[in-house]
Amino acid sequence: MLKESIKMALENIISNKMRSFLTMLGIIIGVGSVIALITIVSGATSTVTDQVASMGANTVTIQVQGTPLKHGLTQGDVNKIAELSNIEGIAPTISGQTTVAFDGNSMDEISLQGKNDVYFENTEDVISAGRIINPIDTENKSRVALIGNDIANELYVGENPIGQEIKIGGITYQVIGILQESDSFAQANTNKAVMIPYTTAMGVVGAKYINSLTVYVADEAQADTTTRQIEGVLTKAFNGDDDGYSIVNMQSILETIEEMTSILSMMLGGIASISLVVGGIGIMNMMLVSVTERTSEIGLRKALGAEPKQIQLQFLIESVVLCLIGGIIGFGLGVILAWVVANLIGTSFALTASTVLLAIGFSAVIGVVFGFMPARKASRLNPIDALRSI
């Protein structure tokens, strides 16, 4: 019976190709836009969160502006933060400008960055060759340096810079590695930068203050508490002035992004669902027309012994099949649209099983909901009146 009903539904849809297609259009557009929006937004979300997470989901970053009395943080302040619980490591940064020279050639407007081993352990792909700054370098205030790609190319033409000397701000260092080439749009371009141990920057170069800190927390779930404790230490360090620094908890940023995009995705999905409802009304309209047109067929089927339930099922299946075909076409178009958009704006494109189920489930539900009333109307037709209506 079910097989027959599906067959009959398909026959009927095919015999009314144009009308079926126009009716399906609503579902196609509805499902297509819901799927496209959800896929685009979730792709964009995962791209953004991946980017943010790649900066470290367990990090709390502190930018120090300083106060008129104290221009930055001291090693002592950093030690106090290190004593807090839930701290895995601290990566201080000292930044400044300098000149570099080798073999009579020099380059200026070079960014000098004092870092420690913690930074390198927690950051991927910092160097393209050589070795990173290790704890012993930090401990010993070693005069070692990592140099940017442009510096390596300009000062050491045709030579391997690693193991060679370099003069940074007039002091001689040994080159231990080359920084990864960053593309020109990267926010932190290190092509014209040198990195040395921050302890060297403080002890040898004479920097007094640390300009920024990245704190790595052990347990991300406790990041909020730890952030508040760090704020306490910092406020005390600046004598109660909390304008001297800004602190950003990456975990809470991630949460905010995820929250916002899920709201966005629900809102857009909701708006697109309106078109699904409109599509559903189109289906209902076509089914009602179909019931009226086929009144005598319904009467005949009843005379031949069809139960009201069977008539209802037949029309319900017809509307579900109609919606499912529309849903599948809409799904295909939505996916293609999402793929094109993802490629255009450069976000990731991923199709989840739940999206597929959503599309199919949605169209089936619409078929049932909007097919129910016409199907019931068909099942309740009086066979005598129905047979007479020829």
Partner: protein, 229 residues
């Protein structure tokens, strides 16, 4: 001893139109035995179709009793009535009532679908019966590829395929020319010879003569026997 398969006693059907009540069937007594070929003859508006709807369990009487195969037909749920129709009645309509999208064979299979007969068996039975009405060559044709007479043969095959208790025909020749109508009547007579029970409704006295029994219905009253032209 003939087997009684249909019995009506003092059957009344009234239609209510607003405040007005119209008595369309005014106390009908009728018995049909297995193997009868009964013609119901009457002028337009006399209540023929109303009677046929009740015989065919498409409608139920207002009062009086109606027994079909020993079962009392009254205000039963639609589902039960549809089962009785499927089992007991083979309808033949004036306008054939074939589904235009289906082949002759598929049309014949329809009542078997609702009887829950599996597909293989449906195909065999429908093919057999189409052969019986002389349409072995036309099984795959759609109704619009068939003549009126052939279409009515398909409809007759559809009525026969479930092996119903009664073949119920309402003006079966009404939409056919005289010669084709005559051929259909020949087929009816053959079926009668085979022992089928037929109830045929007509307003045409010549057509009615084909039956083994004739009843007249005039203004809702049924009278057996004598036929006076």
């Amino acid at each position: 001893m003939p087997e009684k398969i249909l019995e009506m006693k003092n059957l009344v059907k009234t239609y209510r139109m607003g405040d007005e009540e119209q008595v369309v069937l005014k106390g009908i007594d009728l018995e049909i035995n297995r193997g009868d070929f009964l013609s119901v003859l009457g002028p337009s508006g006399s209540g023929k179709s109303t009677l046929m709807n009740i015989i065919g369990c498409l409608d139920v009487p207002t009062s009086g009793s109606y027994y079909l195969s020993g079962e009392r037909i009254e205000d039963l749920p639609e589902t039960v009535l549809s089962h009785i129709r499927n089992r007991e009645i083979g309808f033949i309509f004036q306008q054939f009532q074939l589904l235009p999208r289906l082949s002759a064979q598929k049309n014949v299979e329809l009542p078997l679908i609702y009887a829950g007969v599996p597909e293989k068996e449906r195909q065999l039975r429908s093919a057999d019966i189409l052969k019986r009405v002389g349409l072995a060559e036309k099984m795959k044709n759609r109704p619009n590829q068939l003549s009126g007479g052939q279409q009515q043969r398909v409809a007759i095959a559809r009525a026969l395929v479930t092996e119903p208790t009664i073949l119920l025909a309402d003006e079966p020749t009404g939409a056919l020319d005289q010669q084709t109508g005559h051929q259909i009547m020949e087929l009816f007579k053959e079926l009668y010879q085979e022992g089928k029970t037929i109830v045929m409704i007509t307003h045409d006295a010549d057509v009615a003569k084909n039956g083994s029994r004739i009843v007249r219905i005039v203004d809702g009253n049924l009278s057996e026997g004598v036929y006076n032209a």
